[in-house]
Amino acid sequence: MKAGIVSYGAYVPKYRIRPEEIGRVWGEDGATRGKGLGIMSKSIPSPDEDVITIAVEAARSALLRAGIDPQDIGAIYTGSESHPYAVKPTSSVVAEAILAAPDMTAADYEFACKAGTAALQNVLGLVNTGWIKYGMAIGADTSQGAPGDPLEYSASAGGAAFIAGTERIIAKINGMYSYTTDTPDFWRREGQAYPSHGGRFTGEPAYFKHVLTAARRMMELEGTEAKDYDYVVLHQPNGKFPRRAAAKLGFTDEQLAPGLLTPRIGNTYSGAVPLGLSAVLDIAKPGDRILVTSFGSGAGSDAFDISVTDEMERFNRSAGPLVEDMINVPEEYYVDYATYVKFRGKIRRKGD
């Protein structure tokens, strides 16, 4: 494939909450819950942050690092399940906020947690045909769990943006593979504030079946094994699933850990794999090979086989914030449950 990743940028909101604090309110042992999920804390957007602001911050960071003219971006696609508007795109605001509009195309994508990687496949395709010079794909979410629902321990916020192009590629796409079925593991009906999950459909028949199939098939197509990769980035709804999936695929903790952020920031949904890949690109060196597999409920997985190029040596990484620097926050940003529900708009107010 001619098209590859020429830049990336990430964004994680600064506020956090711990499972102990959530459990305290609901009469559960939050510490044990957190341990069970492999989550020590999760990110919370400030009241003035949403998917649009997260997408813009990530997009601006990607643009600063690339040093390209935003007018050369021919497409922006943003994948999320928490777009601020049901009708009115996130991507058009992003386009204006990075000065890429108006000679371009834009749309929002939805496919639970894999909408961001679906967006990436599409911009790579458009760049590859020569129809656009650069394309931007963003995965971002500010996901919500219903009050008292187990999802409250994990649903968090964050996102990352990738720019696809054909010149000065920092991450080459060796191959892509997707696996899609109709599976009722997790959904949210139109107009509902909180999602529902399909109990016995959530683990084996959904996450594991799709992630393992897509990752294995990707390696078959490339003729590779787990040991051929330096890093693996898997969708991470909690800290446990990706560890188990990685082990089943033959990957070690060392290959998984750099791109596994959920233990510290929670499940950023559409932002999860994009942020995990960003964290890996933050430390990757020329020649490193990365296997990436997302997962979206409903259900599907997108796999990418990626090689870091020599161009990474010249890449202006420091023009944007590193994921690790955004993950670590001072203690004062850890809030109590009351502040959390106020920030997330979970309090019913007059006029609501």
Partner: protein, 134 residues
């Protein structure tokens, strides 16, 4: 917030777009039609610029009696920021503790929600500022 006016001023609010008098080199935010220093000499010489977004706090205050749009964030910090290029503007400082804020603090712009026209109305976005590591 007035919708037509907001949309007219969107480039300023989204991207800190102002202008510069090419006669004397002074930068302006928001944009000016003519340079107040050069008057007629600046006609046709005002050039649009996008500010870098970096600057420093020249004065600040902690707001307790909040505007309804900012109630969820109170107490919060409002500051006068001097952009690197020179112009001064007022903006909220976010992701900054009340102990941390000080005159001379280095900040950069960040894209945030400014307000919304109710739960079913349009959302207004624009610049705020956050501390940068020194």
């Amino acid at each position: 917030m007035n919708m037509p006016r907001f949309w007219r001023e969107k480039q300023g609010r989204y991207n800190l777009v102002g202008n510069r008098c090419t006669n004397c080199g002074t930068y302006y935010f928001p944009k000016r039609d003519i340079c107040p220093k050069c008057h007629r000499k600046s006609i046709g010489k005002m050039e649009e610029v996008r500010f870098k977004g970096t600057g420093k706090v020249v004065s600040w205050t902690i707001v307790h009696d909040a505007h309804p749009d900012y109630k969820d964030m109170r107490p919060y910090i409002m500051a006068i920021i001097e952009l690197e290029e020179g112009p001064r503007l007022t903006g909220q400082i976010v992701d900054c503790s009340l102990d941390e804020i000080h005159t001379g603090m280095r900040v950069r712009d960040t894209f945030r929600k400014l307000s919304e026209d109710g739960k079913d109305g349009v959302i207004f976005y624009g610049y705020k500022f956050r501390p940068v590591k020194e």
